[in-house]
């Protein structure tokens, strides 16, 4: 027995120094310029501007590419991108962009007017998911001279400058991308960064593009690590493996990171909104008093506090907070909550305690996350607090919900959510409120005054006038309540204390090239 125990000790004695030896050489040996490492649970879907239609891949394209115009970081103001200036014709139908000269894609191909035309034509020809952002508005693109390109629109569109910042408008090289099918080359872009290496779902390594016209990225190397779950990403942040944890940490992790206080937590209102839709063309919600009663009785604060633990904010307009022209229209109309008004309206409409207003409220259980059933339950309770409403909750899986029920008008009142396509109040209002599109969203709302306001705001060029028009739109919307805003998501990033330059804004796309280590 003694002999064997000695044996085990011998083994341990041999192993221990080996372990120590192995643990001592730090990983730093390979890096002279330490890259910034960002973690995300999102993923790159397809690295082709003609096909990609998700926020994360768009974010990547805004770091390896650049549109004709771009947003000034931290704002929704536009500034020149690869175009140094542009001109609008007096009828609002022609936008002429003057490009910066001498730019080259990362594969060496010149970035000129012909390249812009080629890229835009390709998006329209391929007709894939995001192509409508071009083809719904642009009739044709013309090369005026080597550095001048002209967009001819189908109709005047006042938010066209916002549209050209979107990913389908980002030019790519015809040497690297084929003309007639989707591809994912790692060269052939032009932006502050270029791709050094990309392993799908594992990591993306970006390197400063020396040919970029503007200031060089603050960190020469930038690495994105893709995580399968938020728990691992959070641990990676705590161990210092990543410098920035981006979309999306879970509410519970954010809370606990905040309480530990070792990392910085940044939060801004995101452009993601949730709302209730009333089907306005059929009973019961063709009666505007009932829509108003619901709008007055909803307890937004409780949804944010109880279901979301304070990680979302109550919203009182379809135009989100932080976007120009936003006003708290529903708050002005009904206050934060007004049960008395709701009771009064319901009584006027002929309902009483004995004969309550019975409604079926629909939701979809997984598409908007696990908390959806809780949200629906809170809404039910807050409506029933009037004593005059009786709510039956109904649910359907997203495929059925979206494909069959919404546009068919199956659901009298239901929950829905919205991520914007382009950053403009138009994207948050026209689809829901204009009689031409509202049936697609299940609203079936039709009001000539509203149509008129929306059409005007769409074609008006002057931002001051547009702001006034959208304020009117919001006021009218609050009065008639065809859609009832509930809450707005918050964008959260957590960073190590020595990381600076993480700018979150309503555009929702993080600019890696501004991030640096103190």
């Amino acid at each position: 027995m003694k002999a064997r125990r000695m044996g085990i000790f011998k083994v341990i004695l041999v192993i221990l120094p080996l372990v120590a030896l192995y643990l001592t050489p730090a990983t730093a040996s390979a890096s002279t310029t330490k890259p910034i490492v960002l973690g995300t649970t999102d993923k790159i879907t397809v690295l082709d501007p003609a096909k990609t239609y998700d926020f994360y891949t768009w974010e990547v394209f805004h770091n390896i590419g650049e549109g004709l115009l771009k947003y000034k970081p931290g704002t929704t103001e536009l500034m020149p991108g690869i175009a140094k200036s542009y001109r609008v014709s007096s009828d609002g139908l022609e936008y002429t962009f003057k490009l910066r000269e001498g730019l080259k894609f990362t594969d060496g191909q010149p970035l000129n007017a012909a390249a812009v035309k080629w890229s835009i034509d390709r998006v329209m020809r391929l007709k894939l998911d995001p192509s409508w952002l071009v083809s719904a508005f642009v009739k044709k693109v013309e090369v005026v001279d080597n550095y001048t390109v002209k967009f001819v629109l189908k109709k005047p569109v006042s938010f066209f400058p916002s549209l050209v910042t979107t990913t389908p408008y980002i030019p790519i090289s015809s040497r690297s991308y084929p003309a007639d099918k989707v591809a994912e080359p790692t060269v052939g872009h032009y932006g502050p960064y270029k791709i050094k290496k990309w392993v799908r779902d594992v990591e993306l390594v970006l390197e400063a593009n020396p040919d970029y016209y503007g200031p060089q990225p603050k960190s020469k190397l930038f690495v994105v690590k893709f995580y399968k779950n938020a728990a691992t990403m959070r641990l990676a942040l705590e161990t210092g493996e990543i410098d920035v944890a981006w979309k999306s940490l879970r509410p519970i992790d954010i809370k606990s990171l905040k309480s530990k206080g070792k990392q910085k937590i940044l939060e801004v209102p995101g452009p993601y909104i949730r709302y209730i839709i009333c089907r306005c063309n059929k009973p019961p919600f063709d009666d505007v008093r009932l829509r108003e009663a619901v709008a007055a009785a909803i307890d937004r604060d409780r949804i944010c506090r109880e279901a979301y633990k304070g990680t979302v904010k109550p919203l009182y307009s379809m135009v989100p907070m932080g976007m120009w022209s936003h006003i708290d229209a529903f708050k002005q109309e009904y206050g934060e909550r007004n049960l008395e008004l709701a009771k009064k309206l319901l009584t006027e409409a002929g309902y009483s305690k004995e004969k309550p207003f019975e409604i079926e409220l629909w939701y979809t259980p997984t598409h908007y996350g696990d908390l959806e059933a809780d949200v629906a339950a809170i809404i039910k309770e807050s409506l029933e607090e009037t004593g005059l409403i009786k709510v039956t909750l109904k649910s359907a899986e997203w495929a059925t919900y979206a494909a069959k029920f919404i546009a068919a008008g199956t659901m009298p009142i239901f929950l829905l959510g919205w991520y914007p396509d382009y950053i403009d109040p138009d994207d948050y209002t026209t689809v829901f409120l204009h009689s031409k599109w509202s049936p697609d969203m299940g609203v079936f709302y039709s009001n000539p005054t509203m149509d008129n306001l929306l059409d005007k705001a769409r074609t008006e060029i002057e931002i001051k006038n547009r702001t006034e028009l959208y304020k009117k739109v919001q006021k009218l919307m609050a009065k008639e309540a065809p859609v009832i805003p509930l809450f707005q998501g918050i964008l959260t990033a957590a960073t190590q204390p020595n990381i600076e330059g993480v700018i979150l804004d309503p555009v929702m796309l993080l600019r890696y090239y501004l991030i640096y280590r103190k």
Binding site: M1, A3, R4, G7, Y22, L23, P25, T27, S29, A30, P35, V37, K43, T45, V46, K51, V182, A183, E184, K196, K197, V199, D201, V202, E203, V205, V223, K225, F226, Y227, K228, N229, A231, T232, L235, A236, E238, T239, G240, E241, W398, A399, A402, A403, A407, D440
Partner: protein
């Protein structure tokens, strides 16, 4: 040895109907799981797009044609193309991810055997004493543990609190060795890249220990039982009588003879190893087949999911076939 050859041939032939049944089951399950077209396209897809996808998947043909088409393609080694993104061939997707899973599986497998046999031997030689009870309990508990839980505990301990080991990924940024086999540890050795080697091993430790511990329990119990049984046998008494040291008796004579059932279990455990790898990979963001499967299920990439399942199934059949053959080779009494 002629009979061994006959046995092998018979065993291989028997595997063919088995694979056929297996493929049929995969095929049927994928059809029962719902309409792939609406799953792929989601909401408001235009009719022409639906038709196009149906055409691409061959879903517009009668089901029996679909089935033989699918078997025919499989025989030619064609698993179809992914439905999403670059629409890459599924075979390429699998080859990109398989080395990671193989590396993880090999190291977890070794760890589970080492831990299992060591603890089992100690338990058997300390019968009904403290160490025996401890390791028996270990054998039962590890078997019931949930992999992501073990994983997160290890991540917390060695990653967050001690800061010794990385908690995710396969290797440090831009440290991949030149690819020869796709197994980073092996490639680093072959290319004599010391930095990569250290980084690859560091990244490999936590995931393989997680999976290794989970799988080791069964070996602990098996080794204990069979070793105890063997140690009662006459030839052990004879060995002791000849004055051999206790260590020689246990390791040279006892363990060697208790090994055959353990070998069988290794074959059977292989399927469990793959299942465990899926969970371990997700916990550690390990870029292998498990994460691929998980990801593509969430993306409803019907063909890739089907391809991965077929691939996993074929591996399990092949490994079990090999184990049977090795088993028959080691123990000439075995012929079915």
């Amino acid at each position: 040895m002629a009979s061994l050859k006959v046995y092998i041939v018979r065993r291989v032939l028997l595997a063919i109907p088995m694979i056929f049944i297996l493929l049929s089951i995969v095929f049927l399950i994928m059809r029962v799981a719902g309409d792939p077209v609406s799953a792929i396209l989601g909401g408001h897809a235009p009719q022409e797009q639906i038709e196009q996808i149906k055409q691409q998947l061959g879903l517009n043909k009668p089901i029996i044609f679909q089935f033989f088409g699918y078997i025919g393609q499989l025989l030619r080694g064609n698993l179809g193309r992914s439905l999403i993104w670059g629409q890459r061939p599924v075979v390429n997707e699998i080859w990109d991810h398989f080395p990671a899973t193989l590396e993880l599986s090999i190291s977890s497998f070794l760890i589970s055997i080492i831990i299992g046999i060591f603890t089992g031997t100690v338990a058997a030689t300390h019968r009904n004493r403290f160490l025996d009870h401890t390791f028996r309990l270990y054998g039962i508990i590890t078997y019931g543990l949930f992999i992501p839980w073990i994983g997160i505990m290890l991540q917390l301990l060695f990653g967050v609190y001690l800061g010794l080991l990385p908690i995710g990924g396969r290797i440090g940024t831009l440290m991949e060795p030149k690819s020869i086999t796709g197994l980073y540890v092996l490639d680093s050795l072959l290319t004599l890249n010391f930095d990569s080697l250290v980084s690859a091993i560091k990244h490999l430790i936590l995931p393989s220990v997680t999976l290794g511990v989970y799988l080791s329990g069964i070996y602990t119990r098996l080794t204990r039982t069979h070793l105890m049984e063997t140690l009662e046998k006459d030839f052990i008494k004879a060995a002791r009588a000849r004055g051999l040291s206790e260590r020689a008796v246990i390791y040279k004579h006892g363990l060697k003879n208790a090994f055959i059932p353990i070998l069988t279990m290794m074959g059977l455990q292989f399927a469990l190893l793959l299942v465990g790898a899926v969970l371990t990979e997700i916990t550690f963001s390990w870029p292998g087949m498990g994460t691929l499967l998980f990801e593509r299920i969430t993306y409803r990439d019907f063909t890739t999911v089907q391809g991965i399942i077929v691939f996993f199934a074929l591996i399990v059949v092949t490994v079990n076939l090999l184990v049977d053959i090795i088993y028959a080779y080691i123990d000439p009494r075995i012929r079915y």
